[in-house]
């Protein structure tokens, strides 16, 4: 299993990196489709909402993941690249859901008097997958390219909407110093309101890597939503991953981790909430009615 993981990772590295350096996309992706949610948001500006296409692409990530181990067995990155030409498209309903989430985030930001534009079809991918898989040199190279891309467009502040992008940009600054300000939307939506009681599946990146576990709970608390907690399931050192990050390397392992996590969450309560599109992809097959935070607040 582990040896296969090395080969799959190496394959990912070559394919994804090549695509990114070519046109800022990890896989062949329909940019129009990714930008369709944002009608009415001004193009560019010094402050932008940055989706990194995560909500829109999350279902496609899964489709590519399931291809990778097969391609690794065939030792054929070229074959994988050609499979990529098929251009996976998320289902209509999945896309509509992603659009609704992003529109809601944009509307909550506007309601909180935050100014922002959007890069629409020019929006690049953050490079998160490179750093998460340990491809540091490639991440740094891509980071330089991405940083100058933003600077070239006069972007000074980036408002992120998902943990993978937020984490990637934080890591990027370790290696590629820049003046780019990175702020997550959760810290900006003062006036958001919601109701009900949920079990929160923490994003590992938000809660532990970025140290936001407590501030996120405060943000949620301010909306009127309450959380059901069980120290053994939702504690800082006990809350486990949804399995998604390892899915690209070993889909089987990712799937089993998701099953275990879903069981644990459901033991705390029936209404479960996530804050990440990848967590949603991993857990939704196992948790009926799973919601993203941006689906339960306005």
């Amino acid at each position: 299993m582990a040896d296969n993981a090395s080969v799959t990772s190496a394959l990912l590295k070559r394919t994804v990196y090549r695509n990114l350096m070519k046109d800022y996309l990890p896989f062949p992706i329909d940019r129009k489709l990714c930008a369709r949610w944002a009608g009415g948001i001004p193009e560019g500006g010094s402050s932008i909402i940055y989706t990194s296409m995560m909500y829109q692409m999350a279902p496609m990530f899964k489709a590519y993941e399931s291809l990778l181990p097969r391609a690794a067995r065939l030792r054929g990155s070229e074959r994988l690249a050609s499979l990529g030409k098929f251009l996976f498209k998320p289902k209509r309903a999945e896309l509509e859901r992603a659009y609704a989430i992003l529109r809601n985030i944009a509307s909550m930001l506007s309601k909180s008097d935050v100014d922002f534009g959007y890069l629409h079809e020019k929006e690049p991918y953050s490079g998160a997958i490179l750093i998460e898989l340990g491809m540091r040199d490639e991440f740094i190279e891509y980071g330089k390219k991405l940083t100058s891309f933003f600077t070239g467009l006069g972007v000074e502040r980036v408002i992120t909407v998902d943990p993978h992008t937020t984490n990637a940009l934080a890591r990027m600054k370790e290696y590629v110093p820049s003046r780019l300000e990175v702020v997550n939307y959760l810290s900006l939506i003062d006036g958001a309101r919601g109701e009900g009681k949920f079990v929160l599946h923490d994003s590992c990146l938000y809660a532990r890597h970025l140290g936001l576990r407590d501030s996120i709970r405060q943000s949620i608390g301010r909306t009127g939503i309450s959380l059901a907690e069980d120290r053994m399931v939702t504690g800082k050192g006990t809350a486990m991953c949804c399995g998604s990050p390892v899915g690209a390397v070993s889909p089987d392992l990712g799937e089993k981790i998701a099953e275990v996590r879903a069981r644990a969450l459901l033991s705390v309560g029936g209404s479960v909430m996530v804050m990440c599109p990848m967590c949603y992809q991993a857990l939704s097959p196992h948790i009926k009615g799973l919601k993203d935070f941006a689906e339960v607040v306005r």
């Binding site: 090395s6 340990g134 053994m232 800082k236 809350a239």
Partner: protein, 386 residues
Amino acid sequence: MSSEWEEAIERSTRNNVPEVWRMLEEHPYLESTRVELRKAKLRVLDNLDEFIGKTMEAVTKSGGVAHLARDAAEARDIVDRIIGGREHIILSKSNVAYEAGIRQHLRDRGKDVWETDFGEYLLQIAEEEPSHIITVALHMTKEKFGRELHRNLDESINEDSTPAEMAAAVRRFLLGKYDTAEVGITGANAVAADTGSVALVENEGNIRMTSVRPQIHIAVTGIDKIVPTLGDAFKEVMIQAAYAGSYPPTYINVTTGPSSTGDIESQIIRPATGPREFHLVLIDNGRMKAAADRELREALLCIRCGRCYFACPTYRVMGKEWGKPPYSGPTGVMWNAIVRGDSSAAHMCTHSAGCREVCPMDINIPRVLEYIKYTDFKKMEEGGKK
């Protein structure tokens, strides 16, 4: 993922995690102790050569013999030379002895070798590999213990026997072994550079017996276990025990050279009642190289408390299949890279970072594993491997 594994890891997590919380809450001074210990261990890693020299000198001064093995093969040779023609050997659980393949090597040479830790003994008779760095037979349920004992030790024990009945059967067997053993091999939780003392922590009493009953005591451990002073060694055993979930520990053993008495005219006479010879075998096996690497050396701070295992989703699913025993789980995957140069398991890390939250040494395990993945890619490129 077998259902037996699921059952076993679920039960152990439910037992261990709240126990550690309780101990840390009841003994708040452990918090500052662990911070001091990290600092002390970093001091050694900054000057490893010097501390190895100091330790070996102190062991010699205390009447013991210090050995330094570059790798596992050299460690086995040293142990062979010490044991010579002696036949009866007992071992207390030691990951480093396992890493060096000592038990298997001695068995291959026809020696009568027995593990004295209950879990390790069970693994020995069941011919299985350890699944956790402390609770080595964590993958075995009580029922499996019963079946193995029935088959290999005592027919009156079966899967319906109580844990106390099982423990009694193993105890009877081991007590006989202590009587005949000529050599006792232990590991070390910490080695004090200023006194040459070896500190070991345990609950079963087998380490105490193994280090005192036979006339020769060999402690086999890694150079990463060296701490500046005997005071630091006590800190390490305290923290190891607490974060492993057994605080206060039943026994803390300290050995400084062979047994001695000063009762006749205040002259130091060796031996007294305990061992006649004490040997410390320090193993490098990749540790020195790791200490020189700014990112990898964090792993050398590990005190093997095993707490990170219970916070890890990959381990939860894969168990001992993640890594290579005795080094599985989050810390084990780092250790495989250090002692075996095997980085492949690191790619299965899902960077949940629960391990980092619970680690008493504040090791940023996901970051070390990310670095190991990174170096693995580099090796692949250099080797022209896919």
